[in-house]
Structures are given as C-alpha cells and as structure tokens.
Amino acid sequence: MAEILIVGNPNTGKSTFFNTLTKANAHTGNFHGVTVNFKKAECKVLNCTFVDLPGLYSMSPNSYEEEVSVNYILSHKKSCIVCLCNNQTLRRNLLLATELIDLGREVVVVVNEIGKKIIVDYNKLQEKLGVKVISLKANNKKTFKNFFSFFETKKEEKNTNENYDKFYQEKVLCGCEYYRKLLNISDKISLNNYEYLEKNIKEKYTKIDEILKYSEYKTDHIVGKSKIDKIILNKYLCLPIFLIILFVIFYLTFFSVGKFFSDILRYIIQDLIGENFVNFLNNQNTPQFVVSLVKDGIFSGVGSVVSFLPQVVILFLFLDILEQSGYISRLAFCLDDALKSVGLSGRGVYTLIMGFGCSTTASLTARNMSDNNAKIKTALLSPYMSCSAKLPVYAVIGGAFFFS
C-alpha cells in the first residue's frame, strides 16, 4: 500500500489533517510540539497509508522530534510528501516546501486555511512552485474534495529527479551537525559555514518572496494576537489567572460535578446492585466468606475504583479544553521564567499539566524540549503529578490508615 508523508512547520494543523483523513484520533493541541513521534494510519478513501510526522521548519533539524521527521523523510525516498502550510504563515512554511521540491521529491503543497481569509492566487502559486497546490480546511472533510480527486487520479510513482548529493553537500557547507554525523564528516565549523548559511537561506527566501509576489499573496494582520492575550499574557495577571483556572477545574472535578456523578455511580454499584445481590446470596444460604468476598471485595473494592471514572472523564475534558483553546501555549510563555529558575523550560508546563491526566503520556511529551537537562528533569518530575490513576490509590490508602 502506498505511503504518503505529512510534513510541515509546527502548529500548521498536520495532526488535525491526519485525523480528518484517517479518523485515527492522533493527539492534537493548539501547542507547538504535540506530536513527538510519527503515527501511521490508513485512509480507506484513497487506499493508502498516511504518516503524521512531528513539525519541522526546514530539513536542518534542531531538536529530537525534528530529527525523527528528517530521518523518516530521508529513509523513505519513494513516499509522496504532503507539505502542509498555514495560509497565515505561508512565507515561513514555504521554506520547507521549497527544500523538499529542490531535493527532487514528489511534493504536494496543501494550504490549510485557518482564521481570517488571506488573499493568494493558488493557480499562480502552483505554476511558480511547479507542484500541485491544494487549499482546504484541515478540520472540515467537506473541503477535501480537490485533495481526494487529485490523489485518486494521480499516477503511481512519479519519476523524480532526486539530488541527494547536492543536498547533503549544501547542508554540510551550512554547518548542520546532523548531516555531518550522518555522513561521518569531522570538519570543524569555520566562519565560512556562517557566511554560506546566510547566503543560502537568503537565496531561498528571495525565491519564496518572488513566488509569493507573483501569486499576489497579501497578509496585513498579526498572527496569534488577540485582545484576550493582553490579559492572559500580562506578567502580573498570568499566574493568578492560572491558579484560578486550576482551582475551578479541581473544584468542579472533585467537589462539585465530578462528585455528583461519582456518588450516583457509587450508589448504583454498591447500594442498588451490590446490596440486592448480597441479599440474594444470603437467601441462597451461600457461605459467609463468599458473601463477604462479594460484598467487601468486589462491590466495595471495585466499586470504589470505578466510581472515580466520572471525575477522570471530567478532568480529561478540562485538560483537552485548555489545550485546544491555546491557553497552555500562552501559559508556557508566561511561566518560562519561573520554570527556568528551577532548571526547567516553559514548554515543561504542558508536560506537568498533562500529568494530572496521565503521567505516562505526559512524560513522553517532554521529548519536544531542545534542552536535554530540562527534558530529563521534566520527564522525571511528571510521575510526581497526581494523575487520575493515583486518585483511587490515595482514597484506598487514606481510607485504610486515617478513617475508622
């Protein structure tokens, strides 16, 4: 089955695009660095496999998850590449697209239309880039008509003119350590690398600016700025706002809404079903140890654990709302200073907050940090967050030691 890679800058909607195509439920979030490893799933409409890769700005990797993407792209030479761009940051996104096109790979540029409509002539953009350009909304399958019809009629295995030697030479001259290690080159970095690097990227951007000018690309608003950012990103208000939000979430989860549903579930399991079943067993002259096992072991024990389910569900719901709204990325920005004083990074706030849901998956998200020390410290700290699996344990131990 043919394999198609989904690449692009961080936070352009790759995982959302992947989920819409494959219905795979890949984890998405309004936060750079959500995808830290590749995911594969089949698309039944096109009868092929899509691979969602972590975001990267160019083919010069700067962190672990970018190396994952570059490794995959370079090792799967026959795979078609869908380069997902954001219509609001098209200039920066096209740097990666043009690198892949110059490499000689089979590329399809997909422009994800997010937010305010941007003026651009996609036919002219397609003409200048020399590859197919499709615009759609990653979270709306109704806009995928052109995408599906293109891939259904596309011929198998385009004869690409791959320029890997020239590509590797260029990257080594730019001083990229990843390619030096890949090719076992041990030259020291010299000033020439900086000059060549600057010249190389300037040439690429000059070419991109010409392409965008020809395509009549116009954007006159600031990406990511909203009135609410003035409050949330305020250096005096951000921490109190965060504490209030956390208090509201925990209050609703453990003392209000969550407790209400938890009590109902406990009543159904222990009182309604448990009591009646125990009475039935007693009427049948069942041995007492069996009755005790059923009453105190199964219904009381398992019932206590299962009754935490509503609270876990509500907690995950709130964590998802925080992620999708973009609040966690703003929080990371605000808490970067405070976390740096203890040797962590602002990005660690995502890992620590996710630890309230599940510590295991939270520690995996620490991989998106570029600083190795901060990455290890955050991953080691995440198990200390009180996750949803630990709640029943606290209840059982607390009940055993502190209540008669």
């Binding site: 160019s58 010069s60 001083g175 350590e177 600057e198 990227i201 951007y205 920005f333 602002g346």
Partner: protein, 78 residues
Amino acid sequence: MKNFFLSDAKINKQYTIANICNDIDIKTKTRLLEFGFFCNQTVVVRNFSLKKGVLLVELNNQTISLRKKEASCVVVYG
C-alpha cells in the same frame, strides 16, 4: 542611531535588523535565519518579557516566539 540587541528593545516600537551575531552556535544562527531574520527587515516586539526569557516578535506580519538567547543575537537599530 545606536545599535543594540533585540532583547533590549522597547515594546511596540519598530526596529530594523542590522545583523545577526556570528559568535553563536550554528543551530541558533540557522533557526534565526530560517525565521527570516535578515538585515534590513523590520521587526516589532509585541510582548516584552526579558526576565521570562521569551519574546513575542512580529516579523513580516508573522508572530514568532523568540528565546532570550536568540533575541540577544539579533542586532537592531531604530
């Protein structure tokens, strides 16, 4: 006009990039260039938090998050 680092810039004031320091690691230099920090580009700092170590910067109508380490390598005037 005096030259100084982007990390010392005032909020909401427009500056012009003079150059990027050469005595930085190649990864930081590559990342800054990939974001489009070239000479004579105009840049505006939208959210100034030097102590937090992160800046929200507007470059070519696109918002970029810069670390203090990266912003301290960009020389501007204006």
